[in-house]
């Protein structure tokens, strides 16, 4: 009964006409969703004569757009973006795994309250907190540091991400207690157990955290907008707006820069998409 594998039973559609319709539909879907991104890729390498046109067919291949983009300092913005995403991801993972270790593996009074407090921040969209956050960033309470105008201001706040802690806590709960007890009998302390027993088992979850964290940080716009005080701290995402506003630069440079901002997320997604899909569906349906 192969035909009943799917709700509409499209797998069972046979015959030349049915095939043609099916292939036509797939082509349309790919054209609509991937066409614009492909046009970006192709056009970045083309000589842009008309500032309005994107092209799916390569012609007049050239690296001029990238050369001009480099002259405009795009490599600096790219470097900023990479520093922010690298630092932010490291911090976010470190914070999430340590917190998850306590929340999943230790029993102490208040554990439920803490988990609730952390998860409740999922209801606080960062856009809504933007204005008070900008005040906090210019004078961080207790330590009284001004993070505005430094890349650190874009890195430190992304460390606190409830979704990452949730994914990690759920995963660590499922690690069998026997593993930990065996290590404890061998005289291992918390740190050792965390590092050599729990973390290695959690490698798949770390993959999920990595890709979701990367996508989340790479997509950040409002936080860099609040933090950057001048173009020196622009990430590539912020730079796209100022490049657009600059008539003299031309669309070619904008397209080339947009491609540079697009590629890392596509590469990371394609490399880790199996984990991504699993995390997405389990997060949406179970979590």
């Amino acid at each position: 009964m192969r035909q009943l594998d799917t709700a509409l039973g499209l797998g069972a559609v046979r015959g030349p006409l049915g095939r043609i319709i099916k292939i036509g539909l797939y082509a349309l879907v790919v054209f609509v969703f991937a066409g614009p991104l492909l046009a970006l890729l192709v056009s970045a390498f083309g000589r842009v004569t008309d500032p309005t046109k994107l092209s799916l067919i390569p012609h007049d291949l050239t690296l001029d757009n990238f050369r001009t983009a480099v002259d405009q300092g795009v490599l600096h913005y790219l470097a900023n973006s990479l520093i922010v995403v690298g630092g932010g991801l490291l911090l976010q993972m470190a914070v999430s795994v340590t917190a998850a270790y306590a929340l999943a593996r230790k029993q102490f009074p208040g554990v439920r309250l803490i988990l609730f407090l952390i998860l409740s921040t999922m209801m606080l969209p960062e856009e809504i907190l933007a204005i008070p956050l900008s005040l906090v960033l210019s004078d961080v309470p207790i330590v009284h540091v001004n993070l505005v105008g430094s890349l650190a201001g874009m890195i430190v706040p992304v460390g606190a991400w409830a979704f990452a802690i949730l994914v990690m806590t759920e995963f660590m709960r499922d690690v069998p207690i026997e593993l930990e007890e065996a290590a404890r009998i061998d005289g291992a302390g918390d740190l050792r157990i965390f590092w050599s027993v729990i973390l290695p088992v959690c490698r798949p979850a770390l993959g999920v955290l990595g890709i979701f964290g990367f996508t989340m940080i790479w997509d950040q716009y409002i936080l860099p907008l609040l933090v950057a005080s001048d173009a020196q701290q622009f990430t590539l995402a912020l730079a796209l707006r100022s490049l657009r506003a600059d008539e003299q630069v031309g669309t070619g440079v904008l397209i080339a820069s947009a491609l540079l901002a697009l590629l890392p997320s596509v590469v990371v997604f394609l490399a880790l998409q199996r984990q991504f899909m699993r995390g997405l569906t389990s997060g949406a349906i179970k979590g």
Partner: protein, 306 residues
Amino acid sequence: MTTTLAAPPDRVRAAPAARRRKLSTNTSAWLWLAPALILFALFKFVPMARAISMSFQEVRPYLGDRWVGLDNYRTVLGDEAFRAAAGHTVVLALGETLGSIVVGLALALLLEGTARHLWFVRTVVFLPTVTAMAVVAALWRILYYPAPDGALNSVLGWIGLGPGQYLDSPHTSLWSVMAVGIWRGAPYDMMIFIAGLAGVDRTLYEAAAADGAGPLRRLWHVAFPAMRAVFGIVLTLAAIRGLRVFTEIFLLTNGGPNGSTEVVMTLVYKLGLERNELGVASAGSMLLLVATVGLTLLAQLLRRRS
């Protein structure tokens, strides 16, 4: 006799040790939690508390803030621009939610299955969702170029549709922004729907087919009822996504032309960071927060019940 005599001292000796052990587990647990707690306090809870308190105050730098009660809320709710922005936000949230669900469901039904070519098409279709909003906005600004030889106008020209103004006309700007939101959001919904469809009991399809039901009736009577929970979740998630929209508006139109795409978040941003009316801006974002939290709780309720 000896055991009962021996027992009490034992217990007395054991108690402080146990307490000490417990105390040290507690402290170590808090140590493990400390980095997260500090970051959450500084960048989530402190801003949250500030937002609440600012929404009841006239914020005056260097002069000290002045308590004004509900005045900020009254100002915001009485402001025509805010009411218009709230209307746009609701239209946008509704349109993007329903659009993403319809398109996402259609995609899911078309691309459901285990064949390798389906997996490929699904991956390709999903790319807009992982693309950063800044890139999406830059790309669509170019696609929407309003001249007859702009990219989208050229494509529409093939099928004989006239050139549109898209983002540049107040009549089409909100719909154009909505279309971008659907383009980016539908693939996400598709993946959740595909996961939902995968959970439908296959034998039910066979039973329906044995009863003579065609594909459409199978969909309506078997697949959809089985996915009720998934619909509820997708609906609320998408609505929450729609309410807090900021980046795409900021980058595509910045509220223009003529305020036709101004939403609550872009207005709040302008009030707070450009006009420095922090109190009124905070009141506006508090109202949006209440809506978001309400929707989130509704989603939780739906999830519990399913």
